[in-house]
Structures are given as structure tokens and as C-alpha cells.
């Protein structure tokens, strides 16, 4: 569906949300997973960090982190950077970010310049670090499959800083980035209906009484008949 909305032709897909983090590219009737998180998803990392800082859930914790981060930027706090090949890991970063948040609340958190840091600085540093990781693994996958297009999907894909960083990377490679907005990035019925319609057109049928839900489809398990 991302392709239908954005018009991207053969993109590497960065799939980032609360439950999952994957870099995907299509090859031979399947969406192949090139890289993914080895522990928690990036959205989960951001949500849990928001809880540590008691950031509001309204409208979404990720959105509020993004707004707070815009006030930060004076310092970049040192957080672990965990990329292994095309995979990455977020749990160590979350632990460190939570420690820093606790130090800040206790009033003894000091940045690299010796001055106390703020919640905004933490949000800024966390975003800069985890997004740099995501862009890096996406870039590796693009080099690997020889594609210059990248499509960002999933809730975290709404983040404008992530989109901007991805754009800088893609421009460096002579390519372009495609992103959708919050209407399509977050859980919605259209994407299920769209996938169903594509499958229907290839002759796939499931009687209504036999229809069930599986939340645990792994991305590369699904046979994609509708793409060349």
C-alpha cells in the first residue's frame, strides 16, 4: 500500500513501529527481511523512554518526544550505538537513557559540557542515536540490493527528523525517500483491505466463516503473488 500511495517503484522499506523494526526489500514473490532489531522494536524503546520521563501519551508518546527534541540540541549525550551488520539492538540504549533520566530527576545529571541536561536534551540525543542506526542499516540494504529508493512505513515513520535524515542519506546516494503521513503510518484498516484486494485479484479466496486473525505473520512468510 505504501507503494500505491507514494508511487515508489522498487524501494527498500524501513518498517518501524511499536512492535517491529525491519529493513525489507522485495525479491521473488516475497518481502525479504535484510535486517531487523535483535531485541525490542524502536517504537517500544521510544514509548518506554517516554514513560521514564513521564511524557504524555496524548496524542502519542513518540510525537511528544519529537516535539520536545526540537527544544534540545545544545548537547549530544553519549548513548550506546548498536548496529551489527544490517541488524540493530535498542535495549541497551533504552537502559542507558532510563539511567540518564533517573540521574536528571535526582538533580545530578551532567552533560559532556559539565552543565545539567534537560529532558529535551535526552529526547534529542535518543532520537539522533536511534535514527542514525535505522538510517545506517537502511543504507546498507540499499547498497546491497542496488536500490536508490527508500520507503518509510509504520508509526515511527511519522517522525519528521527520521524522514529528514533518511532524505539526506538518500540524496547522498542519488536517490529519494518516500514517506506517508500519520493517516497511513499508524494502524489502519485500509492496509489490510488493500492487501486483501491485491490477493483477491490474483484468485486468492477465503470463505468468511473460515476467516481468522493472525497477528504473528512474519513479513517474509507471505507469498506475494501480485508483484512481478
Amino acid at each position: 500500500m505504501g507503494r500505491a500511495i507514494t508511487g515508489a517503484d522498487h524501494p527498500v522499506v524501513l518498517y518501524v513501529l511499536g512492535g517491529n523494526t525491519q529493513v525489507i526489500a522485495y525479491a521473488e514473490q516475497r518481502y525479504r527481511i535484510f535486517g531487523e532489531t535483535l531485541d525490542i522494536a524502536v517504537g517500544n524503546c521510544l514509548d518506554r523512554f517516554a514513560r521514564a520521563l513521564q511524557i504524555s501519551n496524548d496524542p502519542a508518546p513518540g510525537y511528544n518526544i519529537e516535539q520536545l527534541a526540537k527544544q534540545g540540541g545544545r548537547v549530544l549525550l553519549d548513548l550506546p550505538y548498536a548496529v551489527k551488520g544490517m541488524d540493530c539492538s535498542f535495549s541497551g540504549i533504552l537502559t542507558r537513557a532510563e539511567e540518564l533520566a533517573a540521574q536528571m530527576k535526582a538533580g545530578n545529571g551532567k552533560g559532556p559540557d559539565g552543565e545539567p541536561f534537560t529532558g529535551a536534551d535526552l529526547c534529542f540525543s535518543l532520537q539522533e542515536t536511534v535514527f542514525a542506526m535505522l538510517v545506517e542499516i537502511t543504507e546498507r540494504a540499499m547498497a546491497h540490493v542496488g536500490s536508490s529508493q527508500v520507503l518509510i512505513v509504520g508509526g515511527v515513520g511519522c517522525n519528521e527528523r527520521l524522514q529528514e535524515m533518511m532524505g539526506l542519506m538518500a540524496a547522498d546516494r542519488g536517490g529519494s525517500v518516500y514517506a506517508t503521513d500519520e493517516r497511513f503510518c499508524i494502524d489502519n484498516g485500509i492496509m489490510i483491505a488493500h492487501a486483501g484486494l491485491l490477493a483477491y485479484e490474483t484468485g486468492f479466496r477465503t470463505p468468511l466463516e473460515e476467516s481468522t486473525c493472525t497477528q504473528r505473520f512474519r513479513t517474509d512468510e507471505v507469498l506475494v503473488k501480485w508483484r512481478k
Binding site: 517491529n20 527481511i33 531487523e36 549530544l76 553519549d78 550505538y81 551489527k84 551488520g85 539522533e128 542515536t129 542514525a132 538510517v135 545506517e136 543504507e139 546498507r140 540499499m142 547498497a143 546491497h144 529528514e164 535524515m165 533518511m166 539526506l168 542519506m169 540524496a171 547522498d172 504473528r216 505473520f217 512474519r218 513479513t219
Partner: protein, 265 residues
């Protein structure tokens, strides 16, 4: 030249040298140049990690420096322990580059494909054992090189036939000879492992098994016709590396599940 204009070379390559630097490859991570910056008669390979515009400058500097240092450290360790790798000649981690020996030769991938390409199409009937000897010998040399690597406590992280070079031997450099001789030259030379950008120091069976698995998959996808010879690679790996048996058992597990975990749970 167009490539040079598009990607400005690191400052170190802007100084006079006996020959102008040439850009050899451009990967996601960095670029490799051939340069005579150090000595006029000795070319070296310069690996350069350019700054990434999307990254915060402080984070970018930290990562570039750490990655160049750790790659150089791994190479130095391998070199000291007799693993066939290019030795490091010079480096400037803060500037994002290091210089290594320039390996004169072709990637193993090219050598194998040249060998296979000269065989009759659809050579279904297995070739005579004697006829395949040079190729089998290359498989053995690959296994020995990887065994030596793992013995030193280093895992490569991206073992493919593109990341192994065949260093030309002096006696193989003469041209001519019969058809069989020139064909054997395609797979002759010492195997040298390169590109340690994803290497880590690890003694875990799991990591070593994944290294072998990645190589096996690379064989399957790049040289389907040579896949059956991968057993020879593992055989000589076992002869070189004492702890190989437990790694090969782990390899069975890795093959079953693939490199990736399932999404369940």
C-alpha cells in the same frame, strides 16, 4: 574522473604522489582507493569512511574513529597471528582512513566464476576428479584461511567470496601455457581475507557458525555450480582449527533456523 568529482577524496590523497589515486569501490560504508601516497613504487589500499551528512557531527566523529581503530586493531591481530590479511601501513582514525597492503590479484568470486565459465554449459556429468583439482585446492585454501581467522578469536561478519582475494604468485604471472594451465591460473594464488569492517573479536561457536553460514549462503547464491564443493571448505576448516567440531555442530542449528529468529513469542 566523474566519480572523483562526485566524491571528494580524503585530504591525505590530495598531496603529490607518484601516481594519482584511483577510486576502486564505493560501498555503503566507505570507499577504497589505490594510492602510492606512502612509497612511489609500492601501491597501497586506502579505506576511507566519509562523514555521513545525516548523522549528528559528534556522533559521526565518534563512530568513524571507533570503526577505523577497531578494524585496524583486528587486522593487526590477524597479521601478527599469521592469518592471511593485508597488513596495516598507516592510519588516521580521526580523519576516517587507514592504509593497507595493496593485494595484486582478483577476488575469489571472479576466479571461481572464470573457472566455471570455461566449462561446457550444463556440465551435468561430474568432471574428472583430476580435472577439478585446482578448484578443489582453492576450496581447501579458503577453509584453511577461515580456520586460521577463527583460531585467533576473530569473526569476520561478512564472509563472502567477494571479500577474499587471490594474491598472484610470481610464477603464475607469466602469460601463455596450454588451455588447462591458463584455466588453473584463474583459481591460483594465496587466499587473502579482506574488508574487516564488520569484524568482531569473538570466541563463541554461534558467531563462528554464523560466519560459515554466511559464506555458505554466498556460495549458494553466487556460485550455485560450486556449492557442492563447500564441503571441502569445511573439511579443511576442520583440519586447521581445533575447535571446529563444535562450530560445525552449531552450524547445523544455524542452517535449520536461518540467520534470523522467528517472529513468534
Amino acid at each position: 574522473m566523474a566519480a572523483d568529482a562526485q566524491f571528494p577524496p580524503p585530504k591525505v590523497l590530495t598531496y603529490p604522489a607518484s601516481a594519482p589515486p584511483s577510486l576502486i569501490t564505493q560501498g555503503a560504508e566507505g570507499r577504497v582507493y589505490k594510492t602510492t601516497h606512502l612509497l612511489p613504487d609500492r601501491p597501497s589500499a586506502l579505506k576511507y569512511r566519509p562523514p555521513k551528512p545525516y548523522r549528528h557531527p559528534i556522533l559521526d566523529a565518534r563512530l568513524t574513529k571507533a570503526r577505523i581503530s577497531s578494524e585496524a586493531k583486528v587486522l593487526e591481530r590477524c597479521w601478527r597471528e599469521g592469518v592471511p590479511v593485508p597488513p596495516v601501513y598507516a592510519m588516521d582514525p580521526a580523519a576516517g582512513w587507514m592504509m593497507m597492503e595493496w593485494i595484486e590479484g582478483i577476488p575469489v568470486r571472479v576466479g571461481i566464476n572464470e573457472w566455471l565459465g570455461e566449462r561446457p554449459e550444463d556440465g551435468e556429468e561430474p568432471a574428472e576428479a583430476a580435472e577439478e583439482a585446482p578448484l578443489i585446492d582453492l576450496m581447501k585454501r579458503i577453509g584453511t584461511a577461515v580456520g586460521a581467522l577463527h583460531r585467533t578469536g576473530v569473526v569476520h561478519g561478512d564472509l563472502t567470496t567477494s571479500n577474499m582475494m587471490l594474491r598472484q604468485r610470481k610464477e603464475d604471472q607469466v602469460n601463455g601455457g596450454t588451455g588447462a594451465e591458463s584455466k588453473a591460473k584463474a583459481v591460483a594464488g594465496d587466499v587473502v581475507i579482506i574488508d574487516f569492517g564488520l569484524a568482531t573479536q569473538s570466541m563463541a561457536d554461534e558467531d563462528r557458525a554464523v560466519d560459515l553460514y554466511v559464506l555458505e549462503r554466498a556460495f549458494a547464491s553466487t556460485h550455485p555450480r560450486a556449492e557442492r564443493l563447500f564441503a571441502t571448505v569445511l573439511e579443511s576448516y576442520k583440519h586447521t582449527f581445533k575447535k571446529a567440531p563444535s562450530v560445525l555442530i552449531k552450524l547445523e542449528d544455524v542452517r535449520l533456523r536461518g540467520r534470523k529468529r522467528s517472529m513468534l513469542g
